[in-house]
Point group: C2
Chain length 233, copies 2
DNA sequence: TAAATAGTGTCTTTTAGACATTATAAG
DNA sequence: CTTATAATGTCTAAAAGACACTATTTA
């Protein structure tokens, strides 16, 4: 890249620049299904459609910092798993102006999901299908704004691709969890039922799960043992 | 995101916006090693350092279109494997101004590498280590500009992560290739030697390789059979 | 004691690593 | 006939799917 190109870009009005935003895909388990937290648009364009929480990237703010700020402002938390997902830059993705968005994937525990929903700023929508579509808890289909179906599909696919060899499933669970709950997460993300003994053995053979010796409390049947992740090494 | 935020952003001088560029990581095999194509900076800042080819994203140009344009302009080709890699947006990554770059990974065949080098616009640099460092063919270490070592490391890691389950290795090979050449690509990318019979069986059992019946020509020993990829299904 | 889920044992198939052996070309 | 590499066979170990079975809690 030549310095002349940079220099002429020093004058912000000489050449039009795209706006840059960060959008958050907040994913977690809700009612036993994989769900995203969405905001309802009440202004045109696309009023009535459901959108990802997002905002502009500040001129003195890194992309990661912008994602963290939005996580606090839109979902009211600051300790979720957060990773950059993909950048979307189709020319007409927003009818108002040229906007390039860097999408981030945030993984929430059930208690974080519940707290964000209680705050009233976001609503949970179950995700299914390919490409992904969103459904409200009562089963109604929720229309998605802009290219957000595409973004949600890529987020779901990222989760599917990484769940077998990474620790991301645990970001969707409390610190102590049963093997059944862990299997429920895997099945919801992958969209297929899994073999129980095989799943159990695969998880335990990995050597990362530590039995706590305590058991779940509220079950109306034999209670399962609670495990925690050994994130020390 | 509120419409007020969008509206105030309609005036480009009201709020400073970052510049947006696309940088290309052009990877291929060179002298039996994994190598990137770099440009030497002859102007400050970082004069004498080696940088990825890149350029601004046009206001009416998608990210993918900008990457394709740069592939043509900087490497003189338009049929390489091209995929978005990651976006880099640290506030001080470029000392001149705030620049967010969307990095793309391009995979080149040996003949494309050679043609780009002959054009004189880029130079091949072998990649090794973690984080990646660059070396010229004569063994000299090449200092990398800005955050480009970080970008190259992420490109190399993407290649490593996908080579076992995707077709990207074939993007680095001509249409017809020997199993030894395919193994050389895997070994260069992964940085470890592989077992020959096991590698051969794994590739053939996948059912994607088609024996052509012809053999390599220039060998001074028993010539190996040439295969091609079945990219039909 | 019935119901429901937790948890285990075992068989089989698949996959992959290691290593020895045979085959075929050039010089 | 020597040398170098191609190509194959076989043994073994680890991983994963399927399924039957036992164990333990609540109601």
């Amino acid at each position: 890249m030549t310095d002349e190109a940079f220099l002429r870009d020093y004058d912000p009005s000489a050449f039009a620049r795209p706006s840059v935003t960060v959008d958050l895909v907040l994913l977690g388990m809700h009612d036993g299904q994989l769900a995203a937290l969405l905001m309802r648009r009440d202004q045109p364009p696309q009023a009535g459609c459901w959108a990802l929480p997002g905002g502009f990237v500040g001129i003195d703010e890194s992309l990661d910092a912008a994602a963290l700020r939005l996580l606090r402002d839109k979902a009211g938390m600051d300790d979720a798993h957060l990773e950059q997902l993909y950048s979307f830059g189709a020319v007409d993705r927003d009818p108002r102006m040229r906007v390039i968005t860097i999408a981030y994937l945030a993984l929430l525990r059930a208690d974080q999901m519940a707290a964000a929903i209680r705050s009233g700023r976001v609503t949970a929508a179950a995700l299914a299908g390919d490409p992904v579509s969103a459904r409200s808890p009562d089963g109604a289909s929720l229309p998605l704004a802009f290219d957000h179906a595409q973004i949600l599909t890529r987020a779901r696919d990222r989760l599917r691709g990484k769940i077998d060899y990474s620790d991301i499933a645990f970001a969707l669970l409390p610190a102590r969890f049963t093997l059944r709950a862990l299997q429920d997460v895997h099945e919801a993300v992958l969209g297929v039922p899994l073999n129980k003994p095989g799943f159990r053995r695969r998880m335990l053979d990995r050597g990362r799960l530590i039995a706590t010796g305590t058991r779940e409390a509220d079950a109306s049947h034999r209670p399962a043992e609670l495990f925690r992740l050994n994130d020390g090494d």
